[in-house]
Amino acid sequence: MERIPLERKVLSENDRIAGDLRARFREHGIFCLNFISSPGSGKTTLLERTLECLPRHERVAVLTGDIQTDNDAARLRRFHFPVKQITTGGTCHLDARMIERHLADWNLQELDLLFIENVGNLVCPSSYDLGEHAKVVLLSVTEGEDKPLKYPSIFFKSRLLILTKTDLLPYVPFDIEAAAENARRVHPDIEVVKVSCLTGKGMAGWMNWLEQQRRAAKTPSTLAPVPAGL
């Protein structure tokens, strides 16, 4: 018997492509976020409100992933920014090759901001680097406040937690501070914003965070700290 050391990541091919994407984003000055949550936590609605808040001259594009249908792309196209649907056909997450393929016919020189909406799934997308600057995890107040403890990986790897649907707080037994605290137990440096896309409350906090991160990414010396695990 002979033992051959392998010593490399299982997903090294994905990571290689993600590294290429990250280099291209840097070269073209594109700030990229990867949005991850359970199905129905409000990723598409948050992106709708976000696109609505951005000025028309903003050079932003969206890649949105789902197992079937291009419903989300249809919703997001109403804001007149480039949007492309990635239909995985069954795969429960986006991988770097899908991003590379769907960016192929976009001129990256014409973009400054790229939002990637992952397939609704709180587990699998956390394993796949897409070349993004940061992962953003959403948790809605109709879910359990202990989800960060039950599904720690994505909270551990995300720079920001957005607690969504806060307008429902009067009607659901959700302890929003406990949810934030559970996320901080898993990832002490995670930042937290609370948003209601229905009323708009908290949108300013999210948009400020986005603007700060974009500015920080342009100035390497003041880059926001890399979250644990990345």
Partner: protein, 122 residues
């Protein structure tokens, strides 16, 4: 459920590595999987068995080394496994601690046997 994709990636890596050792067959592949890797070990084993069954890799076994979440204390340098997300240093009680490891999803090694000793599929 992305364990099938992970299992496929492992087999691709095994087949690639086997090109370097002609005349041998793979008997065991070792993985390191961290607490924060979001991998269900049982699901991965199930997928691994499903895609190796009735193939030339049927006798390839999978060994998984579990890696706990580990932090390092910035004050005293102590390195410790984090239990129940308690990141305070157990040595000096400092809260100035930092992530060290725990999201591994790594191929560690491949064990191969020479053909003729116990041929695969025989």
């Amino acid at each position: 459920m992305h364990e099938m994709g992970i299992a496929n990636s492992v087999l691709t890596a095994v087949r690639t590595a086997m090109r370097r050792v002609p005349g041998s067959y793979p008997s065991k592949v070792g993985l390191r999987i961290g607490q924060m890797a979001a991998i269900d070990q049982e699901a991965l084993r199930f997928c691994f068995e499903a895609i190796t069954r009735d193939t030339d890799l049927e006798k390839l076994s999978l060994e998984i080394e579990f890696r706990p979440l580990r932090y390092r204390c910035r004050s005293c340098g102590h390195e410790f496994a984090v239990q129940d997300y308690e990141i305070q240093c157990p040595n000096c009680r400092s809260l100035e601690t930092e992530y060290l490891s725990g999201d591994e999803l790594e191929l560690a090694y491949l064990e191969v046997e020479e053909h003729g000793t116990n041929p695969v599929g025989a």
